[in-house]
Symmetry: C2
């Protein structure tokens, strides 16, 4: 069975995963906006270690023109979730699956509330990408993806999707408990994405080299693990020290938040920091560092966006 | 008895307090560096509500040329304390008093260790000043000063100094317990000076208008009060809510750290955040927000100074 697949949100993540599926011969249809002319003209290029491909893809200016699909990859920035209320309906038949590849917490819940819980899957992307031109995506690191179902163990349909991903050269693994894996990813994202935008921008290696920031990263990790545990997702198997060791091996890595910050884009404050903070506090966790980090990030983000608006 | 007074550190604080004493007819001698030619030519100008004075002052390029004094006002930035080891000795006779008007914790201890505990007094300056030109200091707010003795109650000599200050139009009060008053001032300085440099610079009114930063300021105040208490200086009489109300009445006030930050100057990280953090932790306080704030501030400060060095 060849799934008809739509990609909504054609930043680096949507173009990379959708593009690899298309290159593997799957029936993929992209909603494009600013990059539509460039990609229609020259095709999409994906570059990285051991891969360099340019391919023509099916692109559309609206989801009405795409029409109903079996699977929708959702990769818009979480700050644009509200737009999904209009973008998704034209793509839906009764069994259409929605696979969100977005960051942080709250995205599966948003889709479940608006389009029904049964449709909702989530993917965690362990990858570093940058769209360096409208039609060119560069991959720097990793590339595997873990997928699961919202509030259920993976059913056959999700096994099929994972197989499709793997057949197209995307290393895909199933996760039994998607909620727990979202929290596990946050144990890394909350400190490293969060600390990365201060002092004009700090990569992971600079954070770890600075004694006080290193200590702060560790302490934030402990807070996130405590919040996860209070929310019903104990993460015994990962220790902060082990995550730090793996991060040291990544070298001077730029978290996606730093990439957004350097481009002057709005940051995914609520999905990565706000929602975990609110859920952790509601479950009785003590999160003083996360609270301060969140308050600084939301202020810095707003100040940057106001400056960007002033310049326009 | 007319005290012979030296002023070491001729930024806004040294020039203002020394200048007011000189204008009141006291025998004051200023160590000046970059501002020496301008002040020798045109005199010193002090402007503010109800005051506008220009006066000739005694200025010198070295403390050797000043010679021994009875009282030394110390107003160098705390990051330059090491220079005091050479600057102070030429000013000392057996009973010379050293009155530090510097910010934060550790300054009295530094002076006591290097020049003897008996000489050391401390002053808390509640004032907002800006040296807008080498020879012009503007005062925006308040102007009172609280002075006390290091690890002792005020002796007659300190009563005399307070009287001198008051005779020269400086509102001066004695404090019984200088250590406790240093901590009390930090309850305000740690949150408001600390939060002020993020997002390109935030005055006190913007901090209080932002719901999350407001909450963070309150929580930081609670942490500092806890640290003070663990260090033996309980501050029952001030509540964070009351301090917030007084801060609201100050309007859009720029803490000295924001003034330094905007001028690209190094920040007084160790005196205002580092030393209180270390003392609080050593006394068993739990200071997660202060720890994170300190780690971000020291990183931001270093990044700014490196950028400034690159530009030179």
């Amino acid at each position: 069975m060849n799934l008809r697949i739509a990609v909504v949100g054609s930043g680096a993540i949507g173009l990379y995963y959708g593009g690899k599926l298309a290159a593997g011969g799957r029936d993929v249809h992209f909603l494009l906006r600013s990059s539509l002319p460039a990609i229609r003209d020259r095709g999409l290029q994906i570059r990285g270690e051991n891969e360099d491909l340019r391919l023509k893809i099916n692109c559309y200016p609206s989801t009405q023109e795409i029409g109903v699909c079996d699977l929708v990859l959702i990769a818009v920035k979480t700050i644009s979730n509200n737009e999904l209320r209009d973008l998704i309906p034209p793509l839906l038949h009764q069994d259409t699956l929605l696979l969100t590849l977005q960051n942080g917490l709250g995205n599966e819940e948003f889709l479940a509330k608006n389009f029904g819980e049964r449709r909702v899957l989530g993917g965690l992307c362990f990858i570093c990408l940058n769209r360096i031109l409208p039609d060119v995506v560069e991959r720097y690191d990793y590339g595997h993806i873990h997928i699961g179902e919202y509030c259920r163990e993976p059913e056959q349909r999700t096994h099929n999707i994972a197989e499709t991903f793997n057949q197209c050269g995307l290393k895909c693994r199933l996760v039994e408990n998607l909620g727990r894996e979202r929290w596990r990813k946050l144990v890394w994202n909350i400190p490293f994405n969060g600390l990365s935008i201060f002092g004009g921008g700090i990569d992971t290696s600079a954070i770890l080299k600075d004694e006080n920031l290193h200590r702060s990263a560790l302490a934030l990790m402990e807070e996130v693990m405590q919040a996860a545990s209070k929310c019903g997702f104990p993460l015994e198997s990962s220790t902060p020290e082990e995550l730090i060791r793996r991060t040291e091996m990544m070298g001077a890595y730029k978290p996606s938040t730093l990439v957004d910050f350097e481009k002057g884009k709005p940051l995914e404050i609520e999905a990565i920091w706000g929602e975990p903070l609110r859920r952790g506090l509601a479950a009785g966790a003590d999160l003083p560092r996360l609270q301060l980090l969140y308050s600084l990030l939301q202020f810095v983000d707003r100040a940057c966006q106001e400056k960007a608006t002033d310049r326009q």
